[in-house]
């Protein structure tokens, strides 16, 4: 479903900061891929390149066979099929929860308001916050905000969901509710790419775990093998610290 070929990403005025140094990756439909790695390893940048929130410096990314790194490609159309969940939720504070969820379906998918709202209420049931439709983001806790952010992405019926450290900004007691929701989503067959530090979650949900450091993929594999029997010394070192 997503193919990444030779992806490079540099920052700075003269491209002096090299964040991604040649990533090759293929993600199948229905796969749950968890990306782990130390801070500054480029995992978030990698994720953000997948929907071109960061413009890749070079390399090719295919989504559903379409080359999305092409300048002529209508990236806005493709982003509608790629939901994204952010570390800091990024809910729209001036809109109610219901409006947060229905804004994109109404404006972009040209859905009727009543239809969009009915769907939004179903999504609110799924994320377990049916009574918050008329609340505003500032009235919610962090965990609730993140669940609403997931609902907002799901409202566009995406083919793939990208999660950028979805639980990193949460109080520890709220992490569980968000992870539970993501597990539910995974069980429903959604294709997911998740950047996270939650190793337990990775072990439980992922089909494949990717370890990145210094802009490169150093090791990947099925979670049982990956955690039980790490091969790369950098991964061994990393796991010994986080587990």
């Amino acid at each position: 479903m997503i193919s990444v070929k030779n992806l490079y990403k540099n920052f700075g005025e003269n491209d002096e900061i090299k964040v991604l140094k040649g990533i090759d990756e293929h993600i199948e439909k229905g796969e749950k891929v968890v990306v782990i790695g130390p801070s500054g390893s480029g995992k978030s940048t990698f994720l953000r390149c997948l929907n071109r929130l960061e413009e890749p410096s070079s390399g090719e990314i295919y989504f559903d066979g379409q080359l999305i790194t092409d300048k002529k490609c209508n990236i806005d159309k493709l982003r509608m099929q790629m939901g994204m969940v952010f570390q800091h939720f990024n809910l729209f504070p001036h809109l109610s929860i219901l409006e947060n969820i229905t804004l994109a379906p109404i404006k972009l998918l040209k859905k009727k308001k009543s239809e969009a709202e009915a769907e939004a209420k179903k999504l609110l049931e799924i994320v377990g916050l049916p009574d918050k439709a008329d609340a505003y983001p500032a009235q919610l806790s962090g965990g609730q905000k993140q669940r609403i952010a997931i609902a907002r992405s799901l409202a566009m019926n995406p083919q793939v969901m990208l999660f950028d450290e979805p639980t990193s900004a949460l109080d520890p007691e709220m992490v569980g509710e968000v992870l539970d929701l993501m597990k539910k989503l995974a069980n429903d067959g959604m294709t997911m790419v998740i950047v996270t530090h939650e190793m337990g979650f990775a072990r439980e949900v992922a089909n494949r775990v990717i370890f990145m450091d210094e802009g490169k993929i150093l090791e990947q594999g099925a979670p049982e093998e990956f955690f039980a029997n790490p091969k790369h010394p950098r991964l061994k070192d990393f796991l010994s610290k986080v587990l």
Partner: protein
Amino acid sequence: MKKKRKYQGLITGLICVALAVLIVFGIYFVQKMGNKIDSELSIEDAQTLIDNTVMGLPGNVSTGAKYVADNTAVTVNDLSYGTEKDIILECTYKTVNIGDAIETNIDKYLENVYAFYLDNTAQGIKTNATKIKLYIAEIIEADLAASTPVTGEVTVYLYETTPGVFTPYLSDETVNTIFGGILDAKNIITSAHTVTHNGESVDIANLNTLRTGINDYIALKNYDSEKPDTSVPIEKLWNTLKYDFHRNFVVNQQYKYLTRGLATTLEITALAVLLGILIGFIVAVIRCVNQKTGKLTLLSGICKVYLSVMRGTPVMVQLLIMYFVVLLPLGVEKFPAAVICFGLNSGAYVSEIVRGGIMSIDEGQTEAGRSLGFNYIETMWYIIIPQAFKAVLPSLANEFITLLKESSVAFYIGVADLTLGGIKIRSITYSNYMPLIAVALIYLVVVLGLSKCVAILERRLSKSDKR
């Protein structure tokens, strides 16, 4: 806590008003208390004053009134001091009952003068009021001499207008009493519109000469019914204010200069504000797009020039140039010219405010919008600008209030705004403080009202921030 604060301003205001009222009334009462008579007056002096007044009232030409005055005696019996720089005189009077005489004989007099008038006309002589007066004088005087005198009691007031100088005040009622109903007599004469001639009723409503002639005979030429002014300074100030208010705003409906001017000022401001917002948002978005994506370089450059010019020159110079150099040759009227000029000027300031607002919105909001599939403009429109607008609303409101005040220079190109209204009234009445302070007060009230509206709007918009 918030509720308490809300009413604090109102309560403070009310207390201030109450204090001001108390102080004014305090001054009023203190001055009233001090408003006592300065010198004393003997009954004899009072008698002389009254005699002179009574003798003086008819003047020299009203022989009938003079006859009454000559035969009137007002005797001062008692004298007491009042509280308003006044002396109260209790008097007895004896006079000729002229009212009764006229009332009884009015038909006879009219018949006589009408006959006299017809006679004259028949001989080709013009009849004027003086001739009538001289003709009727003898007839009436005979009746007066035959009438029974009336007597009674009357109260007369003396006022000390300047220290040591007393002026008698005779109201209509007092004069009528002392002079035996002379004012009643006048009313009877002036309302007489028919006369019986040769047994037939003739309408003389149009023959004013007849009535005037009789009336001249009994008129009190020196009579002035105005009460002497013994008011205290604060009353005089109040009266001056009332008078100035009247002559500045009420006379010829001159207040309309201000109301129409205010309407024009509000129209100019409202339209210029709309234009300013439009231009401001467009310029702000262009500059933000340029800053973030590097596109629209040419447009952004034009915007920068526009901003420099608008913010680097005085609005009055802009107005003069805009009207006389640019728009007048194109045949644009003053009013739209003022709207365009103030709109362009305001747009420059609004754009900077809005740009600041857009920049203050978290980058994550743009990313969230873009990740959902909105393009840059849609993200701006649905997500960034609503939040930016809320964030900059107080600054925008200040800008608009500034614009309302700045629009007062519009009178330089002859727009009849509120300021010009005040100037016009001033040029009519030569009164300075009243029209100018009125103009200032109106601006103040409008500005305070606008500020209040903005505060309410802000509260509404902050709904989403409530926890």
